[in-house]
């Protein structure tokens, strides 16, 4: 009998074209290469310089999300894109995809959206696959039991040319989440708590596997929120074993296998979960039942407190002191004192239909506080269509929020959707780094429920106060 294997080891071994040696890294085959406008232009230039073609256009899918406008008139109405270089980058992706024969879900395509939202939506994200993209939140796809991680542009070129990557085998890290999340406490709160516990570099060199009863109880949308932020704890990938929840999600998706191919795939997928007794290089345990809604107070995603708690007092720690200065907050004060100028609901972390429903549940029949600008940006055009079909856009608009076309938008502000200098933004995105949402912007990361509640009160607010 062979030794028990982790899910990561099974997927890794199945994709070794050439195993690792003392002198060379492993050559790993990539099943799905997702591409977008921002991290690919220089990779296509490399192919042209070397006279290379794209080896497997059939395993490559392109969309545009990071630099794209979210105003309807700019997406569909022919109004000019405000940032010239962004418009150029979008055109360049169109040219590159046409020249190299890659399927592009372009600006006006009904299937366009944030790359990590559309992969699962289309059903190209599947258990056991290796999936890469020039974006660190590629870890999202690990929610399906895929090995999915972000790469740089040079590596994008490698995958385009050879469908392979040179990789050293990472270590494994089990994140065991027992118990159940309490009412009003969300997977976003859980992953923020995990990052707070593990630290922003605690996962470096490792692949996470999220395990335990709390994870098993989650929907696919919720699992994606958790895996999405693995990189914020330093782990390039985070995986969750596929189960009936996974298969039910994929069975309805357009590009999942059908008929006999589905049955064969299902048999393969059922063998993926880590074997009983498989050992991990590291592990942490978290009791989900003890968690509260969480919000960040500092300038990295590990600086997190309960939404009804206080900013800690770590005066003398240079990271803490710098964060306090940047954020304009005081050690020991209730985080609920923090004012709110902007609320952003969206991103690859929390831009799926269930996230919009959660925000709408809090907002329904209420108004965004005077002086608060709230932006709701669906993660994909399909999410937008489904949200509108059930009237969520009317709830947002009636509350005083803006409803936009899909894209990364205010998560990183490179399309011009930014937060002003010194303004406080409660955001459902994934990074609260200095300047992330705009020069001088102060970001507090939270769940869609907390973001919506904070929009209504104009202060950081525990959503349970509005959900009862």
């Amino acid at each position: 009998m062979s030794a028990p294997k982790t899910m990561f080891e099974k997927v890794w071994t199945a994709h070794e074209v050439v195993p690792e040696t003392a002198d060379t890294p492993a050559v790993i085959f990539i099943d799905l290469h997702l591409t977008h406008e921002v991290t690919t232009p220089q990779a296509f230039s490399l192919l042209r310089e070397r006279g290379l073609r794209v080896r497997r256009p059939d395993l490559t899918l392109a969309t545009m999300d990071h630099a794209t406008p979210t105003r309807t008139e700019q997406v569909f109405g022919g109004a000019p894109i405000t940032i010239d270089s962004a418009a150029k980058q979008i055109r360049q992706l169109e040219v590159n995809c046409a020249d190299f024969g890659i399927e592009l879900l372009g600006l006006q395509d009904a299937r366009r959206g944030i790359v990590h939202i559309i992969g699962p939506e289309l059903g190209v994200t599947q258990p056991g696959k290796t999936i890469v993209c020039g974006d660190s939140h590629t870890s999202t796809h690990g929610a399906f039991g895929a090995l999915a991680f972000g790469i740089g542009t040079t590596e994008v070129g490698h995958v385009l040319a050879t469908q392979c990557l040179l990789q050293k085998k990472p270590k494994t890290f089990a994140i065991e989440v027992d118990g159940r999340l309490a009412a009003g406490v969300t997977p976003k709160d859980l992953i923020l708590a995990i990052i707070g516990k593990v630290g922003v570099s605690g996962g470096t060199g490792h692949v996470f596997e999220y395990r335990g009863a709390a994870i098993r109880a989650m929907s696919m949308d919720e699992r994606m929120t958790v895996c999405n932020m693995s990189i914020e704890a330093g782990a390039r990938a985070g995986m969750i074993a596929p189960d009936d929840t996974t298969y039910a999600y994929l069975a309805d998706s357009p590009r999942a296998p059908k008929g006999a191919a589905w049955e064969a795939a299902l048999a393969r997928w059922r063998s993926l979960p880590s074997d009983p007794g498989a050992s991990f290089d590291k592990a942490v345990h978290i009791d989900a039942a003890t968690l509260e809604p969480m919000v960040t107070y500092g300038t990295n995603p590990g600086m997190v407190v309960a939404v009804n708690g206080h900013v800690p007092d770590r005066k003398g720690d240079p990271v803490f002191d710098a964060a306090m200065k940047y954020m304009g907050l005081n050690p020991g004060e209730p985080i609920g004192n923090a004012p709110v100028n902007v609320v952003f609901v969206g991103s690859c972390t929390n831009g799926r239909l269930s996230d919009l429903r959660a925000a709408a549940r809090v907002l329904r029949g209420r108004k965004v506080a005077s002086g608060v600008h709230m932006l709701v940006v669906p993660g994909s055009q399909e999410v937008k269509r489904l949200a509108e079909a059930e009237g969520l856009h009317d709830v947002f608009r009636a509350a005083g929020a803006e409803w936009r076309e899909s894209g990364c938008s205010m998560c990183l502000g490179m399309n011009g959707d930014t937060v002003g200098k010194g303004q406080y933004s409660v955001s459902t995105s994934n990074r609260n780094f200095e300047g992330r949402q705009g020069v001088g912007a102060r970001t507090l990361l939270a769940s869609p429920e907390t973001a919506a509640a904070s929009a209504i009160r104009g202060r950081v607010t525990d959503p349970r106060e509005l959900l009862s």
Binding site: V18, V27, S136
Partner: protein, 197 residues
């Protein structure tokens, strides 16, 4: 794989610039608004843009890279965990375009480290004691020898740092990994032939 695509690195001899901040993320290295470029060139001016320039685009005199002692330095000593966050390769492109050849810290984030190695920027992970010394001695003249994977600083015993042998070979010969991958075409074809779609 003999096409030299990056300048080969054998020995780096330079004074250091010290930026002691912990967790310098890639959004600080290159803010997102500079990512709409379609080339690698010219990103040096975007390096640390929000720390380096004021709202009017004027250099902040107190920022280390704007100080005269930083001129010509090719080694950046950073606080723990540099390069966390976004996978943007624009971060090492900007560091290289600015003139850096090596980044030293106690922890270097995975994607940034990989991206650096592919662009002739040497990531050097050192022990805590060496790091403390380097942070306390900005402008120290250091010698990094890639063949022996060693770092020498004045008045201290040389230390070795971990580096993947293949990455070292590529850096020392100025070749990139693509040539190696392309040379594995037969193995890739064989894999594809037995692969279950």
């Amino acid at each position: 794989m003999k096409t030299a695509v990056i300048d080969p690195i054998v020995t780096i001899r330079s004074r250091t610039v010290v930026m002691p901040s912990t967790n310098i993320d890639t959004d600080q290295l290159v803010p997102a608004r500079f990512l709409t470029t379609t080339t690698k060139e010219g990103l040096g001016k975007a390096l640390f843009a929000d720390w380096r320039y004021d709202a009017d685009g004027k250099p902040r005199p107190d920022f280390i890279l704007n100080r005269p002692e930083a001129a010509g330095c090719r080694v950046l000593v950073a606080g723990r965990n540099i390069g966390c966050g976004s996978s943007r390769e624009h971060a090492p492109w900007a560091l290289v375009d600015y003139g850096f050849q090596a980044v030293i810290s106690t922890e270097i984030a995975d994607i940034f480290r990989n991206n650096s190695l592919k662009n002739g920027l040497l990531p050097v992970v050192v022990d805590e004691a060496t790091h403390v010394w380097l942070l306390a001695n900005p402008g120290a003249e250091v010698v990094i020898d890639l063949a022996s994977a060693s770092l020498s600083v004045p008045g201290r015993a040389a230390i070795t740092f971990p580096i993947d042998p293949f990455a070292r070979y590529c850096l020392m010969n100025g070749v990139d990994e693509l040539g190696f991958l392309l040379s594995k075409d037969d193995a890739i074809k064989a894999y594809e032939a037995k692969r279950v779609a």
